[in-house]
Symmetry: C2
Subunit: 668 residues, 2 copies
């Protein structure tokens, strides 16, 4: 690079510009080699990234999980090469040049979009637009909440987000931005890649939004910045650091910066530039290195960032070593429940077995949460403005607010999608176990976030009540039909539909102790009798399904399968059948996923060889697996209706009589 | 009411106030009788409703489907009693006092939330928050688009929306508001019920949004209004009518207005006030009638609105009678495809049978749309910023914009959820057939809107491409796994997954000709060979599944079931099996829902009695129905990965070899 001038025409230090050009070159070269990927964003945001990483960010590539590191979230995740290039330049041990050469290939660390857990230092999975931003709000909130518990010495970092037009057009961004502004998350700094281009062309095809004004309306500090002027970026960031509110830096950039023909065009967004244009771009950037080769002095510039980060981390470790609450902090970060948690829950089951409450499972969930939230301080509750319907708050929980980050209950507002993503962010930040409630039908509104909980394998718990036509008068818009199938079909997600207070307690225990799966608790609005009394020594829901009531007086003639609120119906049907001399067993199936994981022998012992009738106040899609060719399903075959719940069960034929009749038809 | 003063203390005409009080009384009485429902909103918005209906709205209750009526959308649908009360007061023939007395009971017209098609004059189903507002954007856009085609004489009406904090917190509102501002839909007027209360309590628990500034940022005109001052409301509406942009009227109101104890409290939101408080409210409102009784002079005030509406409608009919384009307008409104459409499509199948293209089904869809969009002008295309990936635009289509409402292609922006709801609104407005595209995985982002398409039975077509791991390098965030199951589990939705260009054309024909179901077209990114050449006389996809290739030389030994891109794999597997002397049939199942509707005989003839192997590059959830107890499924059992598509198929074992091996295992 010795031939290049020391400064560019615009007065920018050539070394600094070359640090940015290193990102550009690696991005365009990797995309070119893969012939797949998105060069435009990394080339456009390279100057911003250079300033942010060189002068501000506090991370240590040699210890990517340093608890007090700044979080960096690439919400416009299609620009993954920006992240991979930076990680390579900083010297993350797993991000070798060969990984960059294998961009988007099977088995490489350099997946098409950044995948949490796939390479070191990836804070969250991004790609579905808007998720990264909303997840970052969760991280920034978690930072404040952790700070409130452990103090500035141990917890005091920023959350930085790169975001594009796509993220900001998505609805979830509105929910997250509104919440972040309300909670005054001033350590959240968002860079908007304001390049005026989206996939279809100019953003003026589809939006006239004044983003700065929009963010200001939500209580943010917002500024325009020249995204290629490193001095301006630095000055803006310095100002941002003084803000008492979250900050949007709307950075005017050029997508595909450096490419003579494609810069400023949507053509640079999602495809390789082509060999000729890559060559032309090298020339325009005065970048003389071969593909995947970084000049020593440029690499040196990047490695200095890593050295500085290691020093910052060492200083923090020193503070940590002398902090009186270091042990508590470390314990918090493990996310471990108390050692006696299993006993606590077993005792609680024994108590319920005595009391035999007849309550809605949403109320049973509230009661369980009373136990849980007293046993651990890791749980962070919340709901999407349905607190006293989903019963997610317990005694003594105070609200999380800008004035009280030490609270344990989050009023997410009517923002299901942000709730899911914010919970992901809280879980990713460490320690806390977030749970949040809404109606089951509104899982529709947060599918995007729930899927990422599952893909990342996060301990996030969804409390989804009003889980069938049993909610009654609110009618078909509020009555879930396909939602259990939708959630059960989702990989890595555990769907619990407990039948009574005991199974509800069991479901909570299983959800809380599962470190690598999100869980759904599908809970009733209507009251349910206790059906498991007297059989509470073990958590029977742990096997996913079990024989709740065996046939008496001989071999089973029929097996009745049910979940949740329909267990009562199945038990009543078994009684009717008994009166008619038919031997029926009742199998409770609170969690299909766990049952699927049991061995063949156990599953066969539960399901038996007799014909089966399943009953669930939902669509039957997927039940064929359990009832088999000869089985019958009693449930919904269309949308619900508005009316009192007991009448709806009659109307749709989800009754003990119908179950018993179906059983008789099979036995005959 | 003779004892009451002529004007209230605030100078408002007592008669006008009593028109509003009639809504309040009916709402609180109906909720009280049902002991279920939401009195707070109708009581809070009654003054606004009175002014809007008395002085502005142009509807004719005796002809609720008058094409040029103003559209009124209750986005905060939980306040359904406001709508029902108004309909009763206006004299809609189906909305009798007995219906109000049967609020929220099975079989009544007065469902918990307004359900489209359930009672006259309900323009759209609302309840899931934000949907009404976004759907209304679609209606307002459809009005401008229809106007551009047929002129002011025939089409020139407003769309009015009532909305609460809930709707405005939901992400979908951001998407819809941004789009409406961009498209300058100045005949859209939204009343925000700014009562500062949501279910959990004060909205200050969860938001600090400056809504007026927010809407201004999106290009709206926005004003604050006193929602209980009828003079101010009228003045604001007059100003709104002059706007060149959509208008937000942020109306400061008191939830549960009139209730001495509960006004201004979340306690009036979602439960009956209780008999004592209902009585106290009567007194406070100086409302002396018994429950469900409306004083004659108050009723007269409301009925005058109906009379005026009938007159306006008659004037319009006169204009219509003399309009040169009336016949074309009427034909448009039927939504009928050309009489020779079936022949057009049959000819096209014949052409494809000759050409035997090997193209991605997304490309096949584009080619079909070329035929369709030339055959009818009813179709309105669009995509959520993936136009050149989902191939939804065809030659000659111009963009819909504020300058060109006559266009046929909508750049929805990166706003899947609003796209779904806006399409619902366009379909509801009449005539047009909206279709819109994104990636299948992003159906997650628009589930809420898709479900309402299904619940309302609207002809809305979702073009969902990149429908499996076959999309390759973008990786697991972009690769649908559970989405086919999620959509197939949804009542009333048709999910098509065509195997080649011929089936793609068939799927389009079926989607377009189905007036009462939304459809999904699940389409591949990767190329697919033509497998149906020579067998195109009829639309075989119409039966949902059919024998694509019968076993040769004897009875079937095994049946291979597949859809879409995996048909090629099934055919190859059948070839391999044939080479090994095993007689395999291949069944294509492009639409499970249509197949389920066939008679038992047909279904049995297709599925056969031999053991079955199914192959689909998706999760297997739900396939048990078709493969039965003895069957095998070859597909995905977890999330995907990033890499070239062919290698991913190898990695996950979705290959002809695996299918053939599974078949052999079953045959042996």
């Amino acid at each position: 690079m010795s031939a290049a001038p020391k400064t560019d025409a615009d007065g920018v230090d050539r070394d600094a510009r070359n640090m940015a050009n290193a990102i550009r070159a690696l991005a365009m070269d990797a995309v070119q080699k893969a012939n797949s990927g998105h060069p435009g964003m990394p080339m456009g945001m390279a100057d911003i990234a250079t300033v942010l990483f060189r002068d501000f960010i506090r991370i240590d590539p040699s210890k990517p999980d340093w608890p007090n590191r700044d979080r960096f979230v690439l919400s416009n995740g299609h620009g993954s090469m920006l992240l991979y290039a930076i990680h390579y330049l900083l010297g993350y041990e797993d991000m070798t040049i060969d990984q960059l050469k294998n961009f988007r290939q099977i088995g490489s660390k350099t997946a098409g979009h950044p995948e949490y857990g796939h390479a070191l230092g990836i804070e969250t999975t991004t790609g579905p637009l808007g998720q990264g931003l909303a997840t970052a709000v969760g991280m920034a909130l978690a930072e404040r909440m952790t700070n409130a518990r452990f103090g500035d010495e141990l917890v005091d970092h920023h959350t930085y987000v790169f975001t594009g037009d796509g993220c900001l057009m998505e609805g979830i961004s509105h929910e997250a931005v509104d919440l972040a502004g309300h909670l005054k998350l001033n350590k959240l700094i968002v860079f908007f890649d304001d390049n005026g281009i989206s996939i279809d062309g100019k953003t003026s095809l589809a939006t006239s939004m004044d983003q700065v004004k929009r963010f200001e309306a939500a209580g943010w500090k917002a500024m325009h910045v020249d995204g290629h002027d490193q001095h301006s970026i630095r000055a803006a960031l310095e100002e941002a650091h003084k803000s008492d509110r979250p900050v949007l830096l709307a950075c005017k950039t050029i997508i595909g910066y450096g490419s003579p023909k494609l810069a400023g065009s949507e053509k640079s967004h999602g495809a390789a530039l082509g060999p000729d244009e890559v060559a032309a771009t090298r020339k325009a950037l005065i970048w003389e290195s071969e593909p995947f080769v970084i000049p020593e002095e440029v690499e040196k510039g990047w490695r200095e960032i890593a050295t500085k980060g290691a020093k910052l981390r060492a200083e923090w470790e020193k503070r940590h070593a002398s902090a009186p609450n270091a042990a508590a902090f470390d314990a918090f970060l493990t996310g471990d429940l108390p050692a006696d948690f299993a006993k606590t829950m077993a005792d609680y089951r024994a108590q319920l077995s005595q009391e035999q409450p007849k309550i809605a499972s949403r109320k049973a969930s509230e009661a369980t949460l009373g136990i849980v939230n007293a046993a651990t301080e890791l749980t962070i509750g919340g709901s999407a403005d349905l607190t006293h319907s989903v019963f997610t708050v317990t005694k003594g929980m105070t609200n999380v607010s800008a004035e009280n980050y030490g609270g344990r209950y989050i009023h997410y507002g009517i923002r299901e999608h942000a709730m899911a993503a914010v919970m992901n962010g809280i879980a990713l930040h460490g320690g806390f176990i977030p749970y949040g409630g809404t109606f089951l039908v509104f899982s529709d509104y947060m599918r995007g976030g729930m899927r990422l909980s599952a893909l990342m394998g996060l301990r996030v718990i969804y409390v989804l009540t009003h889980d069938s036509i049993g909610l009654g008068e609110d009618g078909p818009t509020h009555q879930p039909i396909e939602h259990l199938a939708m959630l059960r079909a989702t990989p890595n997600l555990r769907v619990f539909r407990p039948a009574d207070a005991i199974e509800t307690a069991e479901a909570w225990e299983l959800a809380l102790t599962d470190r690598h799966h999100p869980s759904v608790l599908s809970l009733s609005r209507q009251n349910l009798p206790t059906v498991r009394a007297g059989d509470v020594a073990e958590n029977r829901s742990a096997k996913g399904a079990y024989v709740l009531r065996e046939a008496e007086g001989g071999e089973r003639q029929v097996t009745l399968l049910a979940t949740g609120s329909e267990i009562e119906i199945a038990v009543n049907a078994a009684e009717k059948l008994k009166a008619d001399g038919i031997r029926a067993a009742v199998v409770s199936m609170p969690c299909w996923e766990l049952f699927s994981e049991q061995d063949e022998t156990y599953r066969a012992s539960v399901l038996g060889t007799a014909p089966r009738v399943a009953v669930e106040a939902a669509g039957g899609f997927g039940w064929e697996r359990w009832i088999g060719d000869s089985g019958r399903f009693i449930g919904m075959d269309g949308f619900g209706a508005s009316g009192p719940a007991p009448l709806l069960y009659e109307k749709f034929g989800i009754t003990a009589d119908h179950v018993a009749q179906a059983a008789k038809d099979l036995v005959r």
